[in-house]
């Protein structure tokens, strides 16, 4: 065995033989922190409770795995040295990076989030790990799935209540449907994005397409998976697709999925309140096309592929050229070949 591996081996052995991590220091800390009234007064007048509920911690994902000083790594002396925090928030901000020691991948994702961007702008209310996950009481964040949107609702209450009434939200809350998107399915969880993130708007149809082009999933609900291809075949979809490829925000706008169907308030198309019901559609068109008439909104074939029953005129044109073009070009090529053949024969 190469001698340089020896220290590693010893280190590993020592680690394995150590007592259940932190169990000892938990007891040490709880000697004081199991006092329900333990609190510290902060300079801003607020009081920070320092009570830790042993049962809650033990039920958390870290219970029995981590000890107090694994996170509170600078709290090794008793009594603790004075801390320079004026507010509870300052304390949270100072400690939140403890999570990255183990959860580095998710931590680094948060650096790309709108929440981190807000924090970097000096917004101290922007959520940190513990604001969504909790601290001593951390449990799996998506069990049950509806918990995800309740977590976001702590700050985004308006959006949450709109979402709860949408076709997706109702299925999630009333039927515990596992297919419908919760907040994080569209906005992602750690690298949270939103409409103000660069490129987000033009990328949004891909978010919808994730599920709405999934044959197996859509079959369950009787929804066509042609929605994306029919959108892309039309003027709006073409513009959106090419603007996305240009990768420069020209500021030009075109209708995306969300512009007609809504965002957090998406309804079933069959419902009377749906903006894309044929009867309501013209009002959707008018948002961009001033002076649009009911006849104008009929120009959009509602995600149907043209056929003899849906849009017979459009389908007729399609069939006409599908026959005419090969006939025409084939005939001309044939005449050219005959001409060449005759030239060769004449020689």
């Amino acid at each position: 065995m190469p001698s340089f591996l020896l220290p590693l081996l010893i280190a590993a052995t020592v680690h394995i033989q150590a007592p259940a991590p932190g169990s000892q220091d938990v007891e040490t800390c709880l000697a004081c922190h199991s006092d329900r009234n333990l609190a510290v007064a902060l300079p801003d007048g607020e009081s920070r409770g320092l009570f830790i509920d042993r049962a809650v911690f033990e039920r958390s994902v870290h219970g029995g795995k981590l000890g107090c000083v694994d996170c509170h790594s600078d709290m090794t002396e008793v009594p603790h040295a004075a801390r320079p925090f004026n507010t509870r928030r300052e304390f949270t901000v100072a400690y939140y990076e403890q999570c990255k020691r183990c959860h580095f991948a998710n931590y680094s994702k948060t650096l790309d989030s709108v929440h981190h961007a807000a924090q970097a702008r000096g917004d101290s209310t922007a959520p940190l790990c513990v604001d969504c996950h909790g601290s001593h009481d951390i449990t799996p964040p998506s069990q049950p799935r509806s918990r995800i949107s309740q977590t976001c609702a702590k700050c985004h209450e308006g959006v949450q209540s709109t979402y709860a009434r949408s076709v997706h939200g109702r299925a999630l809350f009333e039927e515990s449907n596992a297919d419908v998107p919760a907040c994080t399915d569209c906005h992602r969880s750690h690298d949270v994005g939103g409409p103000r993130a660069p490129g987000w708007r033009l990328k949004s149809p891909e978010i919808c397409a994730n599920c709405h082009t999934n044959e197996r999933m859509m079959k369950k609900y009787g929804i066509s998976t042609n929605v994306m291809s029919t959108y892309l075949a039309d003027f709006h979809g073409m513009t959106a697709s090419l603007h996305r490829s240009e990768q420069t925000d020209t500021g030009a706008v075109t209708a995306l999925c969300i512009d007609c169907h809504g965002v957090h308030d998406i309804t079933k198309v069959g419902e009377k309140t749906s903006p894309v019901m044929q009867a309501n559609l013209v009002r959707v068109c008018q948002r961009c096309h001033r002076g649009a008439t009911a006849s104008f909104s009929a120009a959009w074939l509602s995600h149907y592929e043209p056929s003899w029953t849906k849009a017979p005129l459009v389908y007729g044109v399609k069939v006409f050229y599908a026959v005419l073009i090969p006939f025409m070009i084939g005939g001309l090529v044939l005449q050219i070949l005959l001409h060449l053949w005759r030239v060769v024969v004449n020689r």
Binding site: T248, T293, A299, Y321, L332, Q335, I336, L338
Partner: protein, 235 residues
């Protein structure tokens, strides 16, 4: 010393250059729009500066093409009405028999060659194909340019129908030009490599006698009677 005949006047030569240039611009900015989901089409669109600019150029060229078509047709009608031009491009029964005679000749079923006048049936076919195609792409193009206006009077389904018709008609025109016109003007053994007559306006007497014998006979006849023939010159 070669004898030449002037076959196309300045206006006709200018019209050809104009329609050729506009056709190129419209094809280059139009076909990639029809096939934008294909890689090559997207590359062309991005190379030209993005879809917004491509659409702008296409519409500008479309307006010029509309004006050109309108001017051409009104001028032609005016010339015919005032008797300064013959109806040499109007299809006649002879064109159909000429086509059959030519096909029989190509197939080796007979050695009889059709004798053509000023324009043979292939040239008439291409001319009227262009005129009819122009009318279709102009009407459908304007429908796509002003959908709100059109939908005020007509059913909305016309707009997606116009979109399909516009792209397909244009694709057919493009293929006809690529296959048929390029063959007849460049690749055919009769003219290879380049039939220059539409640019210079002139053809040799031999060629005219060979390709349009009835037209040459008419010129000869007029010359014999002492009027006409000004378009024949020697160099």
């Amino acid at each position: 010393m070669t004898e030449y005949v002037t076959r196309f006047n300045g206006r006709q030569r200018t019209e050809h250059i104009a329609v050729m240039s506009l056709f190129l611009v419209l094809s280059l900015t139009g076909l990639p729009q029809k096939f934008y989901q294909a890689g090559w089409a997207e590359t062309i669109i991005l190379w030209m500066g993005g879809i917004d600019r491509v659409r702008w150029v296409h519409r500008a060229a479309g307006i010029l093409f509309t004006l050109l078509t309108f001017t051409h047709l009104t001028t032609a009608i005016g010339l015919v009405v005032t008797g300064r031009s013959q109806l040499s491009l109007v299809p006649t029964r002879k064109d159909f028999t000429d086509a059959i005679v030519t096909l029989r000749y190509y197939l080796g079923m007979s050695d009889l060659k059709a004798r053509f006048g000023r324009f043979d049936y292939r040239q008439k076919f291409e001319y009227w194909g262009l005129v009819l195609g122009a009318v279709i792409v102009i009407l459908t193009g304007l429908t796509l340019y002003f959908p709100l206006f059109v939908a005020r009077f007509l059913p909305g389904e016309l707009i997606p129908a116009a979109k399909l018709a516009h792209g397909n008609e244009a694709l057919m025109a493009f293929l006809v030009v690529i296959v048929w016109h390029i063959y007849n003007a460049h690749l055919s053994p009769d003219v290879f490599p380049f039939d220059t007559s539409i640019f210079t306006g002139k053809v040799t007497r031999e060629r005219l006698e060979h390709e349009h014998p009835l037209e040459w006979a008419e010129i000869e006849e007029r010359r014999r009677r002492g009027h006409g023939g000004q378009n024949v010159w020697v160099k």
